[in-house]
Symmetry: C2
Subunit: 334 residues, 2 copies
């Protein structure tokens, strides 16, 4: 079985972005306008996903709203709440239309002036009422503007960690849009925040205080495995727990697109902490002229990695995901 833990609904019908477009107009008095999308439109929008999943033997994708679209910096807490509900409801609908191919992961109604306590009702609604198996967490709520979002090491986040452990849902740390013109949104900005998040969490007491909390860093951990000894050195200097131990408190996905880098990730953090994820269709859409494979077709790279045992491979492709996302089992029950 192959579970891709990192998919966003990047092919959603235009009615979704149209809802967002009207939020610009409604900025002073946010309201929840109706959004009409037919089942046929949803089916049509997912045709390329099904084709790629079938071709690549991907049984199930953990499916969440478009990451760059979350845009928590835009508008106020109500703007974010309505947008989040519309997105999560659409994901719920897609996943209940195709429950064997997609399992739902939600975004949160984060907003620069709204504390984590305010996001909890939507998390509870998604998980308890709609069967969502995980959530995405934006570590940069204001998109690089002030007020800055506190470090993930900060107690600011504790109400969220508390409810996540209570509900037994993991979270993927995933940035959204940025105002900073010196970064490429999904090229360098996402990676910068993957990296920053990993470093903050590794030097924190978050996992001492929440031993069962499960946080996932996408894109193979940004650039952290490549800079591994930089952080081993810092942890020695700062008298933190050894970095090589700290990093194994986190989970990582394989949306990394390069056999050498996948090997480096697996060597540095171990196969128990890595889950198959491709972020299809996202940044690495398109065919690699050097291999003829899609850039985001990661499965064959893991199939061909001679250093992986069969049981490690199975762990990466499915068993780790079933352990990290405990509610996935319930979702998949007939």
């Amino acid at each position: 079985m192959r579970i891709d833990i990192h998919g966003h609904y990047t092919t959603a019908p235009p009615q979704l972005d149209a809802f967002r477009g009207r939020q610009v107009t409604d900025i002073n008095k946010p309201r929840k306008r109706p959004m009409k999308i037919s089942d046929d439109e949803i089916a049509e929008s997912l045709r390329p996903n099904f084709a790629a999943m079938d071709e690549r033997n991907i049984d199930l994708v953990l499916f969440s709203p478009r990451a760059s679209g979350m845009g928590h910096d835009f508008g106020d807490a109500r703007t974010s709440k309505y947008w989040t509900e519309v997105n999560n409801d659409l994901i719920a609908r897609v996943c209940s239309m195709y429950p064997r191919r997609f399992a739902p992961v939600c975004q949160l109604p984060q907003s620069p002036l709204s504390p984590p306590e305010d996001w909890l009702p939507e998390l509870a609604r998604c998980v308890s009422d709609l069967g969502f198996v995980g959530c995405n967490i934006n570590p940069d709520i204001s998109g690089g503007l002030q007020p800055f979002t506190p470090s993930l090491a900060d107690r600011y986040w504790y109400p969220l960690w508390e409810m996540m452990t209570e509900l037994d849902v993991p979270g993927m740390i995933h940035a959204s849009s940025t105002h900073n013109p010196a970064f490429h949104l999904n090229g360098s900005h996402y990676i910068a925040w993957d990296y920053g998040a990993t470093i903050e969490l590794c030097a924190s007491s978050v996992f001492d205080d929440f031993p069962t909390l499960k946080l996932i860093v996408p894109h193979g951990g940004g650039g952290v495995p490549y800079q591994f000894n930089r952080h081993r050195a810092l942890h020695v200097a700062q008298k933190d727990r050894p970095f090589e131990e700290a990093i194994r408190l986190l989970f990582f996905d394989t949306s990394l697109y390069d056999p050498d880098s996948l090997r480096m990730l697996l060597t540095k953090v171990g196969s128990r902490n890595v889950m198959f994820g491709t972020e299809m269709f996202g940044t690495a859409k398109g065919i690699d002229p050097q291999t003829g494979h899609g850039f985001d077709d990661v499965g064959w790279m893991l199939d061909q990695d001679p250093a992986l045992t069969e049981s490690e491979r199975e762990a990466i492709f499915a068993a780790n995901a079933l352990a990290v996302f405990p509610r996935l089992k319930t979702w998949l029950e007939p």
Copy 2:
């Protein structure tokens, strides 16, 4: 011969930071207070550097002011100008005391509201009057606040590129302090900006417009080699020149501290584009308990890399630096 292209004066006597401290008081009327440091104090401050250089067979270090200390976000253009002059003068003094062990690299009087034109007199003074061989360039002048610094791809930077090519000095892209609490200053913030800078420059027309411009990304290019195919995919999608070609328009150093990562850097960007650099003493000070070597002792990792030919090794240790920093030859002339 071994030239370390990446050293900062992190052990400067406290009079330097005391000057900075008084700038806080003088914030409304910046002025250039006198700073007195004796030759003996300078000699004493460099004792650990000489010891490590001798032990590690490092002949020469390209020496610049402490990177995290540049703090271009602090105060106004005059604050930055006085601080920059004091730092550059101290570097000039250190290097003329020990011209066979240190060659000078300057910081620039960058400031959030001051355009590149305003930095040029100090660059000219350092290079033409004082013999500096290179400069450091902060891509995040305001330390993460607004006004954001334009992307390195932006024409904003062109006056600087123009003068650098005229003077034939290369520049190292190196961030300084940040206001964003979600980043670790020299752990994740520097790396984020190395990464962002590489991505912006690779997708730009900077090197079409300035074919002789030489820019160096420290810390092995942040995490870019590890995310190589992410950017190959983006360059295909954006119809930019192939990423694997674009990245060879830049130069990188080896302040990376890990044999696996050094190999990845050399494989992805080629040995012609890599220069020995350790950022001693900086982030990776301290002894690696796994190897018994200093974390920032990179030389033995390159010595022991079986994939390197002797001429590639010589290029990385010295020849590339002499080519990229043409004024180094003049500096070293008797």
